[in-house]
């Protein structure tokens, strides 16, 4: 479970202070698929960085699977990130001079799995994304959609509890985007909690919940129907007003 309470994140310069997150509270239950939407500069990516332990926060409380992350050493945060969180980025962020296999291998190396286990996990992850036959290809030899699927394989190879996706379809055409979303839904159905940051309301509607951010605060909170029953409602946008953020924490 991911639980943030009154999280504030401030970027400071000599002249001004900017609140990227202001008393932000959110609770995400295991196996949820939550979409985070909002205009540029609303704090979506900052939220994802804080949630992914890539950035610290100034105040508030953040528990990840029951661990209060505040005050953890860098080693402990990195270990937690490595074991519990997978990242997917808009620009894929594959390491250009490593082939597909070695890219998927990166988080497993830091996990200190032995060779056999790494091999098995890499094989399973690439099978899942349909790229087992491209293991020796370099990223530059793949299409955008394929690269994003490699990034997804890399994110899930360590079997993380949370998958944090920052505009994962932003650089893809609509067909590729749909395939990636299908894949994310499939991974979610296998039990992985997904937090998806997106501009695209169409994609957001495929999530179980939608958290809308403005100026670092939750401005709207909508709960969707279960995915199997949702498409009609999601397509019309008839979501209704969901419970308040505070209620969500209750």
């Amino acid at each position: 479970m991911l639980k943030m309470q009154d999280i504030s994140k401030i970027y400071r310069t000599d002249l001004i202070e900017t609140y990227a997150l202001r008393r932000f509270s959110l609770q995400v239950e295991p196996k949820e698929f939550v979409a985070i939407t909002g205009p540029s500069g609303s704090g979506k990516t900052t939220f994802l960085n804080v949630a992914g332990l890539l950035e610290d926060f100034d105040s508030g409380r953040y528990e990840l699977d029951g661990t209060d992350v505040r005050g953890l050493s860098d080693d402990a945060r990195s270990r937690l990130r490595n074991e519990r969180i997978g990242f997917i980025f808009q620009s894929f962020n594959l390491i250009p001079d490593l082939n597909v296999y070695d890219n998927v291998d990166v988080p497993l190396r830091y996990r200190r799995f032995n060779n056999a286990e790494r091999r098995e996990r890499i094989g399973s992850a690439l099978d899942l994304v349909g790229l087992a036959s491209r293991a020796k290809h370099m990223p530059s030899q793949l299409s955008g959609g394929q690269q994003q699927r490699v990034a997804i394989a890399r994110a899930i190879a360590g079997d993380p509890a949370f998958l944090l996706a920052d505009e994962p379809t932003g650089n893809l055409d609509s067909l590729m985007a749909r395939q990636v979303m299908d894949l994310l839904e499939q991974i979610n159905e296998m039990g992985t909690t997904i937090l998806l940051v997106t501009h695209d309301p169409e994609l957001a509607r495929r999530a179980q919940r939608n958290v809308h951010l403005i100026d670092g605060q939750i401005s709207d909170f909508r709960a969707y129907e279960p995915r199997s029953e949702a498409p009609a409602a999601a397509a019309t946008g008839a979501t209704g007003t969901g419970p308040s953020p505070d209620a969500a924490l209750a």
Binding site: Q90, N93, R111, R112
Partner: protein, 444 residues
């Protein structure tokens, strides 16, 4: 993880071969210059008998002019050589485990069929060979009983034996030394103490003597020193006996003292002797009787001049410039790869792991730089060797003998590689580990 980091380092080298080559070359040049300079410096300042540094002592007593010191530039130092009568007193003491009094003369060797050979001969006592761990190819030195009265025995250097006897075992053969018959009792193996610590008068890097003969033959045959003979007191010297009784200094005196207690006893012996002589009207200057170990002896006698120290300083300054350049290149390279580092951090690498990964890369660069530097230094030293060998054609020994690349040079190469690693790599590796990953993840 070390294997993984090594693998990543090789990939990194392949990604930027030009910058990698520049860094290796910068480290190599700095190390090569330092190794060359340090090798020369080491050869010129090293203690060639360091393992006996706490046993061997030069004996000196300040018998000099009350109105001026022996050395104007270093008035605190007594004469490095002694009078005959004082040296004899030291030689008569039972306190040292071994003792030597000695000086050099020019002598001619003949009588073995070959053309007469002019030699530098060291007039010394029998302890010389054991005291200075001199290696023998054939035979041995002479026994103490051959010192007094002196026996007609001689030890030849290997070079002299090669010249006179074609390198064969000449022990037992008789030759003529200054027209007196002497029997060969030993032939030295190659022996070239650098510096020539036991007698610095002829130069710190002169080759050892060609022959060795019992000291007492010198006064008996009235052979004058070919080294320094310094006198300060107006004295009437009409014959050898007058000279031997004079305040002139010309004899090197060394003792081997096995422990602190023996050294203290020897110091007391000298001080008591000085007091007796002082009461008798000698030693007009303040008491200054010294037992000086080899390392201090070399320092006192300024075997390493300031030019060489400056040269070493410049070499290290050059290394520093090379390392600063390397730091700049490393920083540029690592920061250029910051987005990839950001990805690694996002995937679970800690700052420590990022630091270690980059440090391994730097260590490998340093090893490559050190290896190349070692090769360049070897070439450079060989060039210096050939240059000096050409300048001293036909003369064995001398400055060119300093240019041998030895194990000390290897040690310095390794030590410098480690220092280079730490100096050049720590900061860039630390810096790249501290970069906030989130900044680069969005921008890649």
């Amino acid at each position: 993880m070390l294997g993984y980091y090594t693998h990543l380092a090789f990939r990194s080298f392949g990604r930027n071969p030009g910058i990698t080559a520049l860094m290796v070359l910068a480290i190599a040049l700095g190390i090569a210059v330092c190794i060359m300079t340090l090798t020369v410096f080491h050869a010129m300042s090293g203690n060639p008998i360091w393992w006996k540094n706490d046993r061997l002592y030069a004996v000196t007593m300040d018998n000099w002019d009350p109105n001026q010191s022996f050395r104007k530039k270093h008035p605190d130092l007594p004469p490095p050589i002694m009078t005959y009568k004082d040296a004899r007193v030291v030689a008569s003491s039972d306190i040292p485990e071994r003792k030597i009094i000695m000086y050099t003369v020019e002598a001619t060797l003949s009588g073995v069929g070959a053309a007469p050979l002019r030699t530098d001969t060291r007039m010394t006592t029998g302890d010389f060979f054991a005291m200075f761990d001199v290696p023998f190819l054939y035979g041995t030195g002479w026994s103490k009983s051959a010192d007094n009265p002196p026996q007609p025995v001689i030890v030849l250097s290997r070079k002299t034996n090669d010249t006179l006897f074609g390198g064969t075992n000449s022990v037992g053969r008789v030759l003529r030394w200054n027209d007196h018959e002497f029997r060969v009792v030993g032939v030295l193996d190659d022996w070239f103490p650098r510096p020539h610590f036991y007698d610095l008068i002829g130069g710190a890097f002169q080759p050892p003597e060609d022959a060795y003969v019992p000291f007492a033959w010198g006064p008996a045959l009235e052979l004058q020193s070919s080294g320094d003979t310094d006198c300060w007191k107006p004295e009437t010297i009409n014959n050898e006996a007058d000279f031997l009784a004079s305040e002139c200094v010309w004899i090197q005196t060394w003792v081997e003292l096995p422990d602190r207690a023996t050294r203290q006893r020897m110091q007391s012996f000298l001080d008591n002797y000085w007091a007796d002589q002082h009461r008798a009207g000698r030693f007009p200057r303040p008491r200054d009787n010294r037992l000086t170990n080899v390392a201090k002896w070399l320092r006192d006698n300024q075997v390493v001049d300031n030019d060489n120290r400056v040269l070493v300083g410049l070499a290290f300054a050059f290394l520093a410039v090379c390392l600063i350049n390397t730091v700049g290149l490393l920083l540029a390279k690592f920061l250029n790869a910051a987005p990839v580092t950001g990805v690694r951090r996002a995937l679970g690498a800690s700052r420590r792991q990022v630091f270690l990964q980059h440090l391994v890369e730097v260590a490998m660069l340093s090893v490559l730089g050190a290896a190349l530097g070692f090769g360049l230094a070897t070439l450079g030293l060989a060039a210096v060797h050939h240059m000096y060998a050409a300048a001293h054609l036909g003369h064995r020994g001398g400055y060119q003998e300093l240019m041998h690349f030895d194990t000390v040079g290897v040690f310095w190469a390794i030590a410098l590689a480690i220092v280079a690693t730490l100096a050049a790599g720590l900061y860039p590796a630390w810096r790249v580990g501290r970069m906030p990953p989130a900044v680069y993840l969005k921008s890649q």
